[in-house]
């Protein structure tokens, strides 16, 4: 089958904050840029971000990038690469002012400067007092960011391929990346997009878990494509769980509820956080609260007929506080938990929220992998930014508001690097004759599958296994069993069948292709979690409760082929300052 081919200077897969920031710089430099997105760009998951973007502007309280860097290194539980963290924190004020110039409607102080609010983990003077570092646009920072960047991209003549799904990476025998194979969702038409540079900005993979705050589009496509093309995935054992997702739905209940005096209770009505964190109680950090909740449930003190959740009580705050200081919470509780929080507590569970791991890159956004000699060799022509990438600035645990910053800083930097790299690489490399084969055979397999597995059943099985065996708290027996079970689910995913073979907006086909990606991520996460014998940041082992820097201060690399793991050192040396020495992470 002959596949249509189009050629661009750069193909960007993903039109969230990361992809659009990069695309803007690339188009403005005069390059011919294609941006692919499964959904309309401003409906990318970045739209969900409310809290803000961290930057040490010092507009409200005294601040500087050294303090921000310290918080980020500490927050990462020392697994973050300190060169990348320095790069990000130093660039933060500049990239935020750039967004301001692009027209992003930030909240203002009385004197007209960008207003900044406090946010968990962001401190003054190397961890001493809370600082106001988050720049926000009301409670819709992500929405404002996407709209601003989309408008600018349209002006800069970026070519958007809306409702196009990238299926696979094209890599030649030298290991160089030459573009992607993609499918138009409306028609199921397949096309080769050839490019001198390919940038992935496909976002997270929170949908591998049953309880997830992520929208349905977050299926880790970039990671699946990279893994199938032989690129390793870094630090996949590290997921951040938010303590209060609505049980059964995942929808996030903001930390503000506990800030206003709401608290968690178990089936006996006990305010259990007093036992785990006598001082901070319900306001302890996300990982501490999530682990306490998981312990209550595991020890049989969960609520409901399956004893599988706890309750968030706020009726004592009164209707006034609930409707005025916590707007939107009541609607969410009524709609998704079928309770009115002014009368009854909200059932909640720790819910997968953010993926710290991803496609390994250096701080220029270039994908690096151990092939050709060293552990961090550049994969020619391939770049990644945003939640799908592992730079690694978040290490084992991400600080709130540092993700949007990551998108903008490294989106811009990857574009700069691509512009430079393309100068010495003026012509597209010859495509291998089998460029589209992997995608075409995946599609043909799906088309011809008889007596196969249902996509939704296999997907549900995957999410159940991940939730039960690789959640907030990880137990040795459950992990070992989880590895076996997830490999079994992966076998089933190889023979999914779709009943509807039509071409027009075939959602069933798209979901089958997404499952191929989810299952790569799920296997990486389970395998890496079972292997890491310590607790650090988002990875908490019951049998190894402490951080073990002697043996585990290293990044994991998962290879899909043979499902094997390798490790590489953490980059402890910043660019210009001294290394932040290892300390126990206490707040």
């Amino acid at each position: 089958m002959a596949v249509v081919k189009r050629t661009f200077d750069v193909v960007v897969v993903g039109a969230g904050g990361a992809g659009m920031r990069a695309a803007l710089a690339l188009s403005e430099a005069g390059l011919k840029v294609a941006v692919l997105s499964k959904v309309f760009p401003t409906r990318s998951h970045t739209v969900a971000a409310q809290g803000g973007i961290a930057a040490s502007l010092g507009n409200v309280s005294e601040d500087n990038w050294h303090w921000h860097m310290y918080d980020t290194v500490k927050g990462s539980d020392y697994l973050g690469d300190q060169d990348a963290i320095e790069f990000m924190c130093r660039a933060a004020p500049e990239v935020v002012y750039e967004l301001e110039h692009f027209g992003m409607p930030f909240d203002r102080t009385d004197s007209g400067k960008i207003y900044q609010r406090p946010f968990g983990g962001h401190m003054q003077d190397y961890g001493k007092n809370p600082v106001q570092r988050a720049c926000a646009a009301a409670d819709r920072t992500g929405h404002a960011l996407l709209h601003t960047l989309y408008q600018r991209n349209v002006q800069a003549n970026t070519n958007f391929f809306v409702e196009w799904m990238a299926l696979d990476l094209i890599r030649d025998q030298d290991g160089d990346v030459l573009g992607v194979v993609a499918m138009e969702i409306e028609t199921s038409e397949v096309m080769i997009l050839q490019a001198r540079a390919t940038l992935f900005a496909t976002g997270g993979a929170g949908r591998i878990f049953q309880a997830s705050t992520n929208a349905y589009i977050n299926t880790g496509d970039g990671l699946g494509m990279a893994a199938r093309a032989g690129i390793p995935l870094e630090d996949m054992e590290f997921f951040q769980f938010h303590p209060t997702g609505v049980h059964g739905a995942g929808v996030l209940i903001t930390e503000g509820v506990r800030g206003e005096g709401g608290y968690l209770i178990n089936k006996d009505g006990e305010r259990f956080m007093s036992r785990y964190a006598p001082n901070a109680k319900d306001l302890a950090s996300r990982d501490v609260v999530s682990r306490a909740m998981a312990t209550e449930i595991k020890e049989g003190r969960g609520c409901g007929k399956d004893a599988d959740h706890v309750l968030l009580k706020l009726d004592h705050l009164g209707e006034d506080v609930i409707s005025h200081r916590l707007p939107g919470i009541r609607e969410i509780a009524i709609k998704f938990a079928h309770v009115d929080p002014a009368k009854d507590p909200i059932p909640v569970v720790p819910t997968a929220h953010y993926m710290m791991g991803g496609i390994p890159t250096n701080y220029h956004g270039q994908v690096v992998a151990p092939y050709d000699g060293g552990p961090e060799e550049i994969v020619q022509g391939f770049y990644a930014v945003g939640e799908c990438a592992c730079v690694s600035v978040h290490g084992a645990n991400r600080l709130g508001c540092n993700s949007l910053l990551d998108l903008i800083v490294f989106g811009r930097e990857a574009a700069r690097q691509i512009i430079e790299d393309l100068k010495s690489n003026p012509h597209p490399k010859q495509l291998p004759s089998d460029a589209a084969d992997r995608s075409l055979s995946r599609l043909a397999r799906l088309e011809g599958q008889k007596n196969g597995e249902s996509v939704s059943e296999v997907g549900a099985a995957m999410r159940r296994v991940m939730q039960a065996h690789c959640g907030v708290f990880r137990f040795p027996d459950l992990l070992a069993e989880g590895v076996r079970k997830i490999y079994e689910v992966a076998e089933r995913a190889k023979c999914t069948e779709i009943k509807d073979k039509s071409k027009v907006f075939n959602t069933a086909r798209v979901e089958a292709l997404e499952l191929d990606n989810l299952i790569e991520v799920a296997q990486a996460t389970m395998t890496a979690a079972a292997a890491r014998q310590e607790s650090r940041g988002g990875h908490a082992r019951d049998d190894f409760p402490d951080r073990d820097d002697d043996n585990w201060l290293k990044h994991s690399l998962y290879f899909s082929e043979g499902r094997h793991l390798d490790y590489k050192p953490v980059r402890l040396k910043p660019l210009t300052v001294e290394t932040f020495p290892l300390k126990t992470r206490v707040y």
């Binding site: 739209v47 996030l252 709609k335 798209v510």
Partner: protein
């Protein structure tokens, strides 16, 4: 029936809240809508996620009668 396929893809959003509510609505109620209501639903789907969610949550009303009536139905899902 391709109309349904197209719609169900367009109900894939950036906010999980909308994924859930719109998905349920399309599955249960869309087939029973008349042409005017279907057109109104399509117009709602073109709105930005945050605005659409505010409308469904009842914090904002639609500008137009047909949409408002439809919103009431979606809110009831």
């Amino acid at each position: 029936m391709k109309e349904m396929e197209r719609l169900s893809w367009r109900c894939r959003r950036g906010l999980l809240e909308l994924d859930i509510v719109l998905g349920r609505f399309v599955e249960r109620d869309y087939a029973g809508l008349d042409e005017m209501q279907k057109a109104a639903f399509n117009a709602l789907l073109d709105m930005p996620d945050t605005v659409l969610w505010d409308m469904i949550a009842g914090r904002q009303d639609a500008s137009e009668g047909e949409q408002q009536a439809l919103l009431e139905k979606i809110r009831a899902v």
